[in-house]
Symmetry: D3
Subunit: 238 residues, 6 copies
């Protein structure tokens, strides 16, 4: 039995509240159960120097966790003066995932930054970030299209992400914190709406897993992402 | 005329949503109009080394602004590797303001950290932070009292803060961003519910002001804080 | 009684030694009693990138305290790798105060940096810094005028600053260290020679103060600044 | 055709030179073709404070790339003052991989640090690091056993890692730099000698991949790791 | 001819003003011509953790240059967030030089820090720092002896330092800035009052020098240090 | 007797293995006994901004020590976030030494960086670095000449360095670690093949030394450098 009483292939409630803040070109508050992440998409009409002059744009991400998003207060990274390895790993993953569905040439020489700030953490903050970032990016790009700055849509697919793991010997979907901290294996899958895989990461925390285990986790992820794709569509009104 | 159409002595709508997040011992989302700050109070039963052994506790604050809380995206301080002078100045002010109403001896050897994170900025983020932090602190201390960890209440007063300024020659209450960026003088007052002043800061941005101007700003602040004190009480159910 | 035996409205001896060092365009060693601050004004004929092209100049300040300016040795900020929040708060205040009396358009596209380094500390280092910085700035601008680089004088007023506080229940002028560390309230006023106020900051350290208290502190500050304005004039030979 | 002329399932030459340096408790220079990594294992008989008192030890890793290990010189991370996100991601992966085969309780309250420094880079530096780190760890633990400090062997398995990718539409084993920089997908697998998986990471760089693609990459990795396990055994004389 | 008109073996005026500041246990303002360095000695009755428990003390130094000590303003190291290589090199030299004349066992488990802050620079700041630091150290140790905290004098010798160089082909003593920036060789010698050498550093800036050149520089340094030893004695009233 | 049984004027075995890595324009692994340093020379056809436009090039050096190059593991400077004072002092010395034999005008507007990374340390790492750096520089410049990018050779001399010290009262050549940690004086000489001196540094660690001692150390250094010059020539095939 899962601590939450969920079935092994059951997602937590997915909530996506668009326009949670008003200044950003795209903004959502996404929830996977008690995990809540504020994602904003910021469009800048210029690129950092090392990306200029290639006739294409860039999509990047930054990730942060508010100090008391967690059960016990963590140190503020701005006060410590550096981002942890975990933070950097996550924001690199978010950026790659969104670039996997974006045609950077069609985007043109502009940068879109996806800021993912965890308001409340209960497992799955990086997968909620990716899933919410797609909505924020979609909103920002719709804005560029509406403003006539883009004529062709650079977004080729939906992208979503979900965590899976082996908990008490059973593969389960969408780990919450109690499961995450006790799982034998912890995986994150980033999937496209055409069924292909942008990123698969599966880490043994206790006993190592086998090929069959990896495939069962992937199949759970497909179930979860189907739900997320639907929630994303609803959030953007389609 | 003010850009928002408000009367000179009119506050923006004050909204205080308690328990906005669930892990912290106290938590509110406070709004002064479009300015929204998430404040959490975290109780730790130990002090940093330099504060130990004095038989008293500590109340401190940290402040941050999400990168896209503002009209244009600002750099993430965690990524830059340091907090700006402005950030440090604000978080020092918040900490002092809350300590002004707390009996640290009664608090005992524990630390309460008030994290103030600006979700959306439209002027007055530091005063909203202070005003919300009092509610979060109140909730955290009520928890300690309910748990039997405190027998006497260390909070001696309510504290609230509001900005005032001289805009187009007229003293006005609770500056929003368009006023703040054009005001001749910009003041922040931190007041107690007994009418005394914990902190007064009044800075000329354009023409310098005189004693009468300072007093008129203070009197506006009293009007605003009366509203905030009422909203604080309502938020804690009193 | 004050520890120094001074009357409540009595400044410490004000000493201003111009040309204390020889390389800077302006330089003074200012003393308020045992507090001694070396202030230099450095003129640079170029602006940092973010200030260029607006047809105006910039006046800024940096502040530092030699490690053994104080009773016990403090850490060297350069060795720690960052400036404290207190340092940043003070240098921002100094910069604002001097800009309050400078016409940046008349200054032209150049930058003047006021370096305030505390040689010996006995309370009031920030107010001595501001008061001395005006003299150093005056000297530097006189140099620009003499060299024909400026035809109109960009300095519109004298500016001076002094601390006041409530010590043992009595408002007193120009706190020294024993008073500063025991005062109930601690205020800094930055005043212009026309009687207007550039900055007022009054912080309760113990009991909070009331409007009457604030006004009495301001009136003491006027007395102190009158003395400082005279000493500034004498230092520049007027 | 692969640029190197290798068959799709062909590893580069694996070279493991034990005792490359003399101070460390374990030391190897491992080569996967032209990629060469110096790995040392350092035993410290004390743990960092946050790991003490749990009756178990710790295995961790640090990773670095000499500035001119690469085709063009990269900045020295020590001079820049921080480790890149890539570096941190890699060293976290190495540490997890080695802990996956170590019984930390049997290790006792000591720490073993695996320093992986890339002398020359031609793709696969993280997988060579993991594969070499196992040998260095084995040597260090053999030393502890020989010295009578350990009575039971805390190493439960061999662990090895190899990269695979989809290059020109074909899944290939052990990417070198020309392949790595042009591959559509880039995967790293960390495998145990009992056939289980400690870590799988597969990232689409161009077109996303499907389940069959993931499995084909995994099967290539099994082929490569079989070779590496043999080379590890030979290096430790078994 | 030297720019200053001095003879090749002629020191600039040496001025040592003891008790320049009042909080430190020892304090001097030392001048070599226009070079002026404020040196304070701070006694702390505890050692940093890594020096404790050896039954001996420590003498260390820190060095800084005020931003406008030089002809053009340099960046403030505290603002840049790190000390330059030059700064670190100099403060390590000062520390070694003073430890060369101090019996650390006799000093007991306490630390003396020599802060050398350059008020005005005209060449020779490191040698003036060492020469002044000896006087400050002497004063601090005399204080410890007078307070009965030391019964035996841990200072075994006087130590002084001076720069020499080859300027326009001629070996000259005590380089000022115009000479220093144009010299072919630049040397610093740290000498004891018994004629022995604590440190010799001679660097070719243009043409390399030979053994005879090195010896001639050393002989000039002996002449200069004789003058400095006399000035040190006079400063401490002997 | 020396711990190693060497005669006082006897160098350790000098080994220079050219082309140790393949990407750099010049590369050697140099050994002085058990000390082994990997030196690479990297040519960049552009200068950092502050060196541009003078019609000349730049030669600079960086130095690092792998964490377990030493008997006990040292902290990784990249992880600590700064280079130690010792590291900076050494890399400044290496850079100066190589510039002493290079005609920067003939080099043209390009930069050569010498990265010296200590693989294994047993005393003399900075002198081995300098001696190896000359070979790497020679190789890089030969490459520029062969490519027709240089027509005149900017290298004017060979440069080599060696340490000497007073160990148990006897001047000895080329200190290894046991000698280095116990010597009364520790000197490093950087010599040119024409017999002149680029840099002399002699530091008393215990008893101070006299002029005769300094000369005896210098003469030992000449013996050592003669051997190193021969090994350098052999390494470049002359």
């Amino acid at each position: 039995m899962r601590p939450s009483g969920r079935a092994p292939d059951q997602m937590r409630a997915i909530t996506i509240e668009p326009n949670f803040t008003r200044h950003a070109e795209g903004s959502v508050l996404i929830g996977f159960g008690d995990t809540r992440v504020l994602v904003t998409a910021s469009v800048e009409e210029r690129l950092p120097p090392w990306l200029r002059g290639k006739g294409e744009g860039w999509v990047t991400a930054e990730y942060g966790m508010l100090p008391r998003a967690t059960h016990t207060r963590g140190n503020r990274e701005a006060a410590k003066g550096k981002q942890s390895g975990r933070t950097q790993e996550i924001q690199r993953l978010i950026g790659r995932s969104l670039r996997a569905v974006t045609d950077l040439k069609l985007l043109g020489e502009r940068q879109i930054t996806l800021d993912c700030d965890v308001i409340q953490a209960d497992g799955g903050t990086r997968t909620a970030s990716i899933s919410g970032a797609w909505v924020a990016l979609r909103m920002a790009i719709d804005g560029l299209i509406n403003d006539g700055k883009l004529t062709a849509d650079p977004i080729r697919h939906q992208v979503a992400a979900v965590s899976c793991g082996i908990y008490n010997g059973t593969p389960v979907l969408d780990l919450d914190y109690p499961e995450d901290s006790a799982a034998d294996a912890d995986a994150n899958f980033v999937l496209l709406d055409n069924g292909t895989i942008a990123e698969a990461q599966a880490t043994a925390e206790g006993a190592c897993y086998d090929e069959e285990g990896l495939l069962r986790l992937l199949r759970l992820a497909r179930i979860g992402c189907t739900d997320i794709f639907a929630a994303q569509k609803q959030a953007i009104g389609k």
